[in-house]
Amino acid sequence: MTDLFFYIFAAITLACAFAVVFSRNPVNAAMFLILTFLGMASLFVMLEAYFLAVIQVLVYAGAVVVLFLFIIMLLDVKEESKAKLKPLTLVASVIGFAILLVGVVGITSSDNIKATTETLPEAAGATLKNFGYELFTTYQLPMQVTGFLLLVAMIGVIVLSKRVKTD
């Protein structure tokens, strides 16, 4: 049963992610992006990381994509015409795909992944309290760094969008 659900949600997530990339209509792409996030949220649910799943929906599907749509609608982006691939782009993407392929094959064929025990360890983010505890002890540094990055991004946006008065 659980396996079946995993495959269904994984398939939905992957299919929608592909659709995001291949949609020519930006609104379609944004809608598929929501579906991708929802699919990922359900995968988190399967891992019993409810908090993460809900936050995924709340932040990404509920706020970020709304802003995407907002911008798409305000700018009135028309359907993209087929762009011709530059040779450099083509070469770069082939190399990128090759690296990805090697990575995936390498990980799946290594012994590490097969060595997992049958009993699942309890996820650190399963209950809210554990999640908060881990965030402020074990993962304190990454959290601070992320927060700092977000602060920088925010200040950058404010500086960029502020209209400079010339007089």
């Binding site: 929501i34 599907a61 706020a63 749509l69 907002f70 809210l128 554990n130």
Partner: protein, 367 residues
Amino acid sequence: MELSDIAIKSIYAVIVVSVLMGFCSYAVLAERKISSWIQGRVGPNRTSLPFISSIPYIGRFLTRLGVFQPIADGAKFLFKEDITPAHVNKLYFTLAPILSLIPALTTVVVVPFGYYENAAGEVVTLVLTDLNVAILFLFAVSSLGVYGIVLAGWSSNSKYPFLGGIRASAQMISYELAMGISVLPVFMWLNAPGTAGTLSLVDVVNSQGGALWYAMWMPGSFLIFVVCIFAETNRLPFDMAESETELVSGFHTEYSSFKFGLFFVGEYAHMLVGSAIVAILFLGGWHPLPFMTWADFGVHGLLAGVLSVGTLIGKLCGFMFFFMWIRWTLPRFRYDQVMKLGWQMLLPASIANLVLYTFIIYFLERP
């Protein structure tokens, strides 16, 4: 999970959703009646059913009260001609009303509506699922409701709906922040040191039993949350998405018949769930009085179930009335005022409130 469990849960879900739909249709009636009373009118008082309406006195009284009006309204929405304008994006035009209704109905899943004591004397909470992250689930799912409005505005391919959709998207995001921060003090108090962490709504209600309700000693949170609920449900004075005096009818200008009906029901379902959340978070849920529970009144067993559900529904109806009452008291904000209120007043106020209650809770709980 067994198949029979799934079947039972499904049946419960169907029952809850149909009760919610029934409440929606009567909320529409209540809205029309209360509007008319405040404005010195009579309101719907003609629709009558055969047999029932011809009962002397009672039948006439019910007809004058408009009790049969929702049936006529529903039939009208079902059978009117469904016009799809030629210039719309058909897929999203059809999808939008569904997307605005589904999140509103999904949120009921985590809303607890009462408890009863079974034969063994155990307290059983009446809730579809007691999720550990219930309040976040609620915020997350209800934040998806904005897509219905935004897509309706965009796919209508017409200026007024478009403006309505744009306004709605900006407004929803702005007020979600203040709403999320304003409930934090409640959960800070709930998650006292040494207890298992919880964001469950059932625990919120239980913590208010035999104690002060949160609205009484956290009036700041309550006020900010209520304002944000108004903004999130797109009700006056925040109905930027509709604002019929400026945008014809806002995002649903191009909609008619059943699709419009879905938007309509979605709005009221959203309001109902919002009222239930306010009652649960701040007004003591199914507890009849501050410091008192039904058990203190000596009510046990199934009767407690009936009374607790009744109490919650009573509070819910009271808050629904407040929604309608506010509607005819405050004029609509201008768009820049909405943004200013959200970002420059409510957000700082909610953060200040959070800091204040952090200290209060710290001193209250200091051993």
